[in-house]
Symmetry: C2
Subunit: 281 residues, 2 copies
Amino acid sequence: MTQWFCEGLALDTISIDDRAVQYGDGLFETVAIRGGEPRLWRYHVERLQTGCARLGLATPAEAALEDALSSAVAGSRIDAECCVAKILVSAGQAPRGYRRDLDGKVTILIGLSESARLPEAVYKDGVIVRLCNTRLATQPQLAGIKTLNRLEQVMARREWHDEAVFEGLMLDTDDRLICGTMSNVFLIDGQSLVTPAITRCGVSGVMRRHVLTLLAEAGIDGEVRDVAIDEMWSCDGVLITNSQFGALPVKRCGDKSWQTGDMTHRIMQLLADSGIGEQPA
Amino acid sequence: MTQWFCEGLALDTISIDDRAVQYGDGLFETVAIRGGEPRLWRYHVERLQTGCARLGLATPAEAALEDALSSAVAGSRIDAECCVAKILVSAGQAPRGYRRDLDGKVTILIGLSESARLPEAVYKDGVIVRLCNTRLATQPQLAGIKTLNRLEQVMARREWHDEAVFEGLMLDTDDRLICGTMSNVFLIDGQSLVTPAITRCGVSGVMRRHVLTLLAEAGIDGEVRDVAIDEMWSCDGVLITNSQFGALPVKRCGDKSWQTGDMTHRIMQLLADSGIGEQPA
């Protein structure tokens, strides 16, 4: 169960006339709270602010988001040491029609829920992923940000019921690998890594940004560019990243298998050293 | 104000955990109630059912939709002779994550509001439209249906504040004319009409379908195909259609003006004869 808060007050419902309901007019962030602190907080704030600017919504100040989050945590029964905080920013209530009020004021909702910890083995052995048939549409105006329009991900997630499959990877309409339904993807090729550019579609994940920063600091070549899906079939290893689980090696996608190699171990170690505690050291 | 109902009971709010709020996981129809009857009802029902099937949601039976609508009307203060009924079908409540429950059960909400009648003059003189910069992304899986993911329309509608501009027309990424933010479009060329195919993006409007049926019955050539925007600049006339206002001639888009010609008059007359009473006879 998720416990929701608005301005520190618990609530279960939202007005049906809210533009989040009617049009998906808003954005969200899913923040991992670890040791009582929101992890990769600056990255979440920056993506949310970028998203608000892109959608023409009033940009919440970092302090306002911090206040919203801490007052929710204070009022919650959820373990505030380790949980998931969903920040939902909606364009708010408005009369019928696509047109917004000129002021673009937003409503900030905080949803707290328990953190689902993955078994330690998957960080060592890796996960199974699949390639989804649902394609990501090219829409540069929405690429990178995390809007409430998520039907492509919902449709992709509908494609499998096999509990052994952890994630689905998605392509754009030109057979480029973009990201997973809930994760970003890195391909390992020798001593370098590549992650797909998120310029036409897809979500630019905070953990992807963190990994890219760690790679740069460690002097490892981490390239951001267009990636044809064929590159995945011939690469040495695949990693997926997400704000909650950190990074996971991929052991199989369809008929293709990968071994967890030295570079994967090195990146998992870099993450562990940076405080992404889900990684077994 | 919109008055909302679920299973005949008035309500103002929806659970924040509803998938309509979190992901825009659902569909809607905006039905014109005229003379106490839902206009073009079969077309609305069919599009909604098509949409549910496409999204993998349980398809509501026509009788269930009729019941939902009539119980809402019975409980409402809104003038039931002439109003707007928004039918919102949501994927309902679910735990966090893109994955749906396997049963795909839906929630049906009915929102009734007053009908905004346009001045009669616009049906004769036409309206001013603009060409939006926001493009419609190519996503065949969502094309034609009316989902709750409407950020492209919201962004397009943000492009203008000039009250004189009635509607914005939208292109896809290959400079094809697709539809307006809230309407479909017909181009008149001599004795024939063409309306863009809605196969890659856009919404397939009920009034568009009604006009195409009327054209076929009247023996007028009405083609449905890809339309390059350049065709609009050289055509003899433009019409936009929508469930609420019926059909309106376009008198200007940017620097280009059109006169209301014989074919426009003929189509407006066909609509009036078919009971689309907004058209002055």
